[in-house]
Amino acid sequence: MQYSEKVMDHFRNPRNVGEIENPDGIGYVGNAACGDIMELYIKVEENIITDAKFKTFGCGAAIATSSIMTELVKGKTIEEAEKISNKAIIEALDGLPTIKRHCSVLAEEAMKKAIEDYRSKNV
């Protein structure tokens, strides 16, 4: 496995680690047996994501994809954030080893779940 410099940067200096108190949405995906768990928190104001944080149990790629996802969504509308695909994440990280692509899928799913959670509370 050879990670890109971007992945290594996000792994060594992950952005937005932690939890948000009273978040507007939480997305939780994965399980310990699979080796990856991601928990994403978002704060939403007037349909715009103003803050995002994560907690992740997993490999280097899992941590890096979570980290970059929180960066990507900040300042975006809910609709824009929802459209961030795993491919966009891979691109933003200058690539991921083939066997680590599922991490980008997890990050996409976690964000979708967080948005879903936000919506379910705001109907």
């Binding site: 496995m1 060594r12 680690v17 768990i37 992740t56």
Partner: protein
């Protein structure tokens, strides 16, 4: 500081091995040739064969050189199964993939396989072994010591159980991790075959051997010339074999001092970890394992991220076996031992070798606790 604690994955070539390899360049002819240059190479190779044999406590006519531990395991198992029509075979749940994946393949091809369970320390259950043997049991393959946890199996007892049932059941052991780390005297046990590999004991990668007890004939894995008593065709890896001989020699010579050193370093590392890091598990225990192997679970964090963090500090370790690193499955060994997933995922194997020092252990003990803290601070399981 560069600290290599991944010697169970592979180990650096020693100076004597490097010398033996360089010396081998002068033996350039083909050992099968009629001319005297060929005869010289044949004798040179037999010298090395003798050294490997001595390290195993057997004689040189019982040593077949192969391309490594994986091939030795496959040759032993497939080579003896081709000689019988019996269809029941036995192994353990904690074998290396070279054995385990072969058994899975054989299962697909119609063999009935018993996978023996292990206890919480990874020791194979001998009652299950006694119970599973049948008149149509062809072969039992149990490893001598485990690559991930270092767990030392009760091979002598296992062989006795099998041979009491029937002399004809073939007993093979994957001794790749035990070789050069434990005193071995295979002649004194009625074992049929044992696999070893040079690169785990400061020899070169890509060369191994299979001990085949005198009188036992197995079929080759593939066809060609009449090399290695007809059991393994192909021009011999002279350079690798020379290095393997030197490595075996050295391993025997240094055995008691290395056992002493490894035992000390391992205890120091474990005690340091235990004192400074909460919620750690020792997989396999301290005493029933290879003196050079320490397998620790750091609960609630994942192995690869620990490895990379340590790597950034110059420390090389692994999680699980080197072959499966990078794959998505978690350790089949820890899961057979009943280690829960969140702990198994965070397991790290520290494996000592010839060149490790006390200072290196202390360096690891300095770097490791903050890494575990940082990763735990990110973990959603830490609440």
């Amino acid at each position: 500081m560069e600290v290599y604690l991944d010697n169970n994955a592979t180990s650096p070539i020693s100076e004597k091995v490097a010398e033996a390899i360089k010396d081998s360049f002068a033996y350039y002819a083909n050992p099968s040739s009629v001319h005297s240059l060929g005869i010289r190479v044949r004798n040179f190779m037999d010298d090395a064969r003798n050294k490997v044999a001595l390290a195993l406590g057997v004689s040189k006519e019982e040593i077949i050189f192969t391309s490594g531990g994986t091939e030795s395991d496959n040759l032993a198992i497939l080579g003896s199964l081709k000689k019988t029509s019996k269809k029941h075979i036995v192994t353990s749940l904690v074998e290396h993939h070279a054995v385990l994946n072969l058994f899975k393949q054989l299962e697909k091809e119609g063999y009935e396989v018993t996978y023996l369970p292990v206890d919480k320390d990874g020791i194979v259950d001998l009652d299950s072994l006694s119970d599973c043997l049948r008149p149509d049991t062809a072969l039992v393959s149990i490893m001598y010591a485990n690559n991930e946890t270092g767990a030392i199996q009760p091979i002598e007892k296992a062989v006795q159980i099998v041979k009491n049932m029937s002399e004809k059941i073939i007993f093979h052991t994957d001794a790749v991790q035990a070789f050069g780390k434990l005193p071995l005297s295979l002649r004194s046990i009625p074992i049929d075959m044992a696999s070893v590999s040079a690169h785990k004991i400061n020899g070169p990668k890509g060369v191994g051997a299979l001990y085949v007890r005198k009188g036992l004939k197995i079929m080759p894995l593939f066809r060609g010339g009449h090399h290695e008593y007809g059991m393994r065709p192909g021009t011999e890896n002279i350079m690798g074999i020379a290095g393997f001989g030197a490595a075996s020699d050295e391993a025997v010579e240094n055995l008691s001092s290395s056992i002493e050193k490894y035992t000390f370093l391992k205890k120091r590392l474990w005690e340091g970890i235990y004192k400074t890091i909460p919620r750690v598990l020792l997989n396999g225990g301290l005493d029933k394992t290879l003196p050079n192997t320490l397998n620790v679970s750091f609960t609630n964090i994942e192995g690869e991220s620990i490895i990379i963090m340590l790597d950034l500090e110059g420390i090389a370790v692994s999680s699980g076996s080197a072959c499966t690193s990078g794959s998505l499955e978690s350790s089949h060994v820890l899961s057979a031992m009943g280690v829960p997933a969140a702990a198994a995922q965070g397991s790290i194997r520290f494996s000592f070798g010839r060149y490790n020092t006390e200072e290196e252990v202390d360096y690891v003990l300095e770097k490791l606790p903050p890494i575990v803290s940082r990763l735990r601070a990110m973990s959603p399981l830490e609440k």
